[in-house]
Amino acid sequence: MIATSNTTDDRVAGEPDPTSAPSTLGHLLAHAADLNPAGGVREGGELTTWAELDRRAGQLATTLLDLGVTAGDRVGVHYRKSIAGTVAMHAAVRIGAIAVPLDPGAAAGYLASVVEEVGVSVLCTHTPCRRSTHALVDLLAEANNFHQLRSVIGLSEPEEDSSSAITWVAAGQVHAAAPTPPVPVASDDPSYMITTSGSTGRPKAVVHTHASAMAYVERVHRSMQLGSSDRIADVAPHHFDVSTLALWNTPYAAATAVIIPEAYQMLPASLSELLESEAVTIWYSAPFTLRQLEMRGALDQRDLSSVRWALFGGEVYPPAAMAALMAHLPNATLRNVYGPCETNWCSHYDLPGPPTTDETIAIGRPWENTQLRLVLDGKDVDDGEQGEIWIQSPTMMHGYWGRPELNAECFVDIEGGENGGRWYRSGDLGRRRDDGELVFDGRLDHQVKVRGHRIELEFVEAILEDSPAIDLAVVAVTRQADGSDTLVAGVVRRDGSEPDLASVDDHANTNLPAYAKPSSYVVLSSVPETGSGKLDRRTIRATIAEASADAISATAGSNTTSESANPKPAPGRSRSTSDRNPSQQGATGD
């Protein structure tokens, strides 16, 4: 069956006037400056107006043009959560370049793989990312590949150059430039990319166009009735697709964004203080951050009545924990959002009240002009049956950058008829409940979500197996006592000798994004094979996950926040790495 949303009922939001609203991302800042001179982006209690942001984006755009950046070039955006990062995203799309936000917490090896995958030619950054930028540049130079990175913009002064191929442009030079106005772009020109781990150890980059981005922005705007009085928490890092709501929708609505630096996400009691003092009205994050806010945010001492929308998506929010959160957000609608970064948000479910059962919170129904099918063996399934979620929507990506084989796998083009057009096969499994709401039912493949981050287990395994210390790695997700998930790696050497786990962990630190690093390691005593002689990863994963879960329930006791419970799994000898090994307990994240 096909679920088609109705297309009219939420088209009542008054501002901005659709006839004057920009149709490409590059014009958003000027549009916001026209509509609301008092709005802008707040950081550290200070407002930077839309007019000032427009000017700064124009100056950075000029610098990019001076460095030879032209339409379609890939511009790396490497910042911690900051106005500077927001400006860089807008600057890139302003001149028709493609913004490639990078994970500021990622290891240099992973950053280098992204930079090479999409051919980043200019990197915009700032001082807080100085070390990581130098590590990246050094690694690229060492690798001696034909990487395309030519220039780095934004460090406080020209750097001593380890790689003569790089031009360093100081931040001061950017501020001296005359601003460039937005250049015209075609709506089907690429605008930004979200990179995600592939299944082979090679990252893949989801390319969105100006049209797919704006289609998303318009739907969010109408669906949430955003207006210039809204204060939108800008909490997610730009390499995480959840961030686009604050990034693009705030200027579209001529509202005000409030930057939430990473430190506040680590300190829920400070975060809740900030949300109260900034009178935030809109929140959107992975469930993890909301859950931390509820558990450790001292919410009984805060007034969060300004919040009118609290959105979460990317993974499952524990239903039993929802009531406590809702009690502290008296005026908020809690909305569970579904949509892979390839298609953006495509369905949602507004909680009518605290869940009364432990049934997974629904992902709801598709929004306007979006079709979802549940497909098994090429046919739509009946209600209640499980099928793969196929999506058709104007918010869908253009495709993966430079990966025709992946595009051929994930897109299905159907000619004519009721199901005509291009469909994205999500790899997600869904089911329709009796009441018509969709429920997320897991994955077809080995992709998992950990604290909102999408991780392919094969990707982590492939990276770990590059370490000379081991021959084989199998990675499993385990559920911790507080309900959040973490990765555990089972490793083995073919000769049966004891692997040097510290060295494997060092290798992981260098080559994996922080969110994809295993929190502990288990030495496998045996490696089962399938009937056809292939490694039976499924069985091994189940064993690791089960053993870790047992270890957690045995040690966590009744206090879910205090005991450290390094797993003591049974499949073989296990140990955690000697240093920098996060405990099983608690959680990290963004």
Binding site: R80, P104, A263, M266, P268, G586, A587, G589
Partner: protein
Amino acid sequence: MTDMSASDRSFAERLLGFVRNEVALDDITIEGETDLLLTGAVDSLGVIRITQWMEDEAGITVDPADVTLENFQTVDRMVNYANAQGANA
């Protein structure tokens, strides 16, 4: 780190050692006054582990409402906070 008694110093040094060796994600040199949070040297899991360590080692109870930038931005601030809570040294 200033004006600390001998026993304070030992607590402060042990906390610094724990943060340097067990918690810090990056290779930056961490001193008592190093900003651990805005530099990304410690992530949210690290903060949770530090509070657990303080509870275990200093015998205090860390109220979640106290886990703020003011109290946890640097090792020095953590030591001051723990002392104010009556930490055993």
